[in-house]
């Protein structure tokens, strides 16, 4: 690992861990003690300075929402949901595509090609659209008929499943690449079973790539969250969001818009204010951007670490042995 890539991984990891710790710490220790937010800013002599939403300032670094809550704290609080969900989804994607990739690897070449051809359709529309089509009926359009568990689990499963075909193909290609090594043939002649070869010889090749893929998938998931947020769909705490029903019947049930301060939900709720109070959208979007940047730092740093370790070891040994050349080591030849 070069020094630069170490620094990148460190910066990214420190940002993510710091954010998560702050997020859990905030909602456990600070938030319960907090007073109700101020809707009006009043000067010392009693005159009104400003009304919420406040623009970004010293007291409100990222501005505030309509109720006067600072966006900085809202974002810190929501971080655990957003990042946590992205970790779960990335993990699900990687595990499923490892399985899928192994199964694909066992198939004959013609079948592999067929799958590759089929997955090509995903190139002609953004992933967000596919996800949206399958998630929205549950969350928005037919929201009256599905219960809360379905509304949280099904979207997660969809977001996991959307990327499995392409990822499986990637894993299968990597397995194929690793199994082209000569020592695999050796192991086979010595009687190793297929699964043994996979476990002992292919997995060590796969592991670093899978780790990088996992980190990249976290970033991809966050991007999908941000996109879906813009399309008015989000997962965390959207349980009673029945907009159309509300308008039709005149019932005023709007208080459960952001049950959790999940970032995608914040984008979705505030997008209508983009013209008048741009920071209300910009704050969660910036949070997404910084987090994705941190994740990409980690992925980039880990990628630079891919060189096999054994290259360095024999070289040092060679140096020490080649230094001690003296007469006694030579022998006369006829």
């Amino acid at each position: 690992m070069t020094r630069n890539s170490k620094i990148l991984v460190f910066i990214g990891a420190a940002y993510l861990i710091g954010l998560m710790v702050a997020s859990f710490g905030y909602s456990h220790f600070i938030e319960p003690k907090l007073a109700k937010p101020e809707k009006l800013l009043i000067d010392d002599d009693g005159s009104l300075i400003a009304m919420a939403p406040f623009p970004p300032s010293m007291a409100y670094p990222l501005g505030s929402d309509i109720d006067g809550n600072s966006y900085l704290t809202k974002i810190i609080e929501g971080a655990k949901y957003t990042i946590g969900l992205s970790v779960i989804i990335a993990l699900g994607r990687v595990l499923l595509s490892l399985l899928g990739g192994y199964l694909l690897f066992l198939l004959p070449t013609s079948m592999k090609r067929t799958f590759k051809g089929l997955s090509d359709a995903l190139h002609y529309a953004p992933v967000t659209v596919f996800t949206y089509i399958l998630i929205t009926p549950v969350i928005l359009t037919f929201s009256w008929s599905y219960d809360l568990t379905t509304k949280i689990v099904f979207p997660c499963l969809v977001i996991i499943a959307v990327s499995v075909p392409v990822l499986s193909l990637y894993v299968q290609e990597e397995i194929d690449l690793a199994s082209n090594n000569e020592f695999i043939d050796n192991a086979r002649t010595m009687g190793a079973s297929r699964f043994h070869i996979f476990k002992k010889h292919i997995v060590p090749f796969l592991t670093p790539k899978v780790v990088v893929t996992f980190v990249q998938q976290m970033g991809q998931t966050l991007i999908i969250f941000a996109h879906l947020g813009l399309l008015n769909v989000f997962i965390g705490g959207s349980d009673t969001r029945v907009m159309e029903y509300d308008i039709e019947t005149g019932d005023a049930i709007t208080e459960t818009f952001t049950m959790s301060n999940e970032w995608a939900g914040m984008i979705s709720d505030n997008f209508q204010y983009i013209r008048s109070f741009p920071w209300m959208v910009l704050a969660p979007v910036t949070a997404f951007a910084l987090t994705i940047l941190a994740i990409n730092f980690i992925a980039y740093g880990l990628k630079a670490n891919r060189k096999p370790k054994r290259v360095n070891v024999p070289q040092e040994k060679l140096k020490t042995t080649s230094m001690s050349l003296d007469k006694e080591k030579f022998r006369m030849v006829k």
């Binding site: 051809g117 089929l118 659209v129 089509i133 009926p137 966050l222 996109h227 019947t249 910036t286």
Partner: protein
């Protein structure tokens, strides 16, 4: 070679078409679409006020799924009248969809061409620097490509508003008004992110080519740096770029969706977004609308490249 290439492309075309139909009908597999849409219609016509008694679960409705796929195939092959449902009424899909398609694809293609041109110029400029100085533009590229597209699009829009507020100078029309829709800015924004990606891949390809022995040979023969860069290395990098171009294209489509929403443009992508949940056929038809022309273009480019570069046989992938 021509015949095998033709056969391969045809198989690819058929496979992709099959999976588009498979994907397009997926909502019918998981939801009881017909009864749900009926309920929605009743709600929207105010015939139904209380929905608390309605319960449904995720289903696995293979029969409906198959049936809908069959209907879609019939619809596509016979080209019958397609109607879509929106808030209580049915509308005719064509020619509305085609108009939106032409408009959005004009943005996309112009954006991609502009991005490609700027990227080539940028790459040449970066490559003309020494490898030590190159680090800085590469760092900027890395940060830019790491940022999500909606962040960049939003920042650009807000920047233009800010400039307008400060100087009273509206550089571009930023949103749909009565005067018409913004044209120049969407194209510029659409060119930006694909441009960054193209620059990244081109740089990688160029730096790989730079290490190749033929470059040293050419230098030692006295060819100028620019000739090698523009003629020889560029020619060889085009192949690598083309292999990445499909994913860049997908990425540009995602950009287009975000752009249409943020800039409030009534376009092809927003049409899919608004209507294809209740009418999954729209997704299938739109996918075919994008797929068929671009597949043909990609295949022709691939054919040209293969016949130019690989006269001795072999394939690009």
């Amino acid at each position: 070679m021509t015949i095998t290439f033709f056969r391969k492309s045809l198989i690819q075309f058929i496979l992709t078409s099959i999976s588009i139909v498979l994907i397009g009908s997926l909502p019918y597999l998981f939801f009881n679409m017909k009864s749900q849409v009926d309920v929605l219609m009743m709600i929207e016509k105010k015939e139904l006020n209380n929905t608390l008694f309605l319960q449904d679960t995720i289903v696995f409705n293979v029969q409906e799924y198959g049936l809908h796929m069959w209907n879609t195939v019939k619809l596509l092959t016979t080209g019958g009248m397609v109607e879509y449902y929106e808030s209580g009424r049915y509308y005719s899909l064509f020619p509305e969809l085609l108009e939106l398609f032409t408009k959005s694809m004009m943005y996309l293609i112009l954006g991609l061409i502009l991005g490609l041109a700027v990227a080539v110029v940028m790459t040449m400029l970066i490559m003309s620097l020494s490898s030590k100085v190159r680090k800085f533009p590469k760092m900027i590229l890395f940060v830019l490509e790491s940022l999500p597209d909606i962040f960049i699009i939003l920042i650009l829009q807000l920047l233009i508003i800010w400039i307008y507020k400060k100087t009273d100078l509206l550089i571009f029309n930023i949103t749909s008004t009565l005067d018409g829709e913004p044209v120049l800015l969407p194209i510029l924004v659409l060119s930006l992110l694909p441009g960054i990606y193209v620059t990244k891949y081109l740089l990688l390809a160029f730096e790989y080519e730079e290490e190749q022995p033929y470059v040293k040979l050419a230098l030692s023969k006295g060819l100028s740096k620019w000739t090698i860069l523009f003629v020889h290395m560029f020619r060889n990098s085009v192949l690598t770029l083309f292999n990445h171009f499909k994913s860049i294209f997908t990425f540009a489509l995602a950009n287009l969706l975000m752009l249409e929403i943020i800039f409030d443009i009534e376009g092809f992508m927003t049409f899919i977004y608004k209507n294809s949940v209740l009418n999954p056929e729209i997704l299938t038809i739109s996918l075919f609308l994008v797929f068929v022309p671009f597949f043909i273009v990609f295949t022709i480019i691939q054919w040209v490249l293969e016949s130019k570069f690989l006269q001795g046989g072999g394939t690009l992938d």
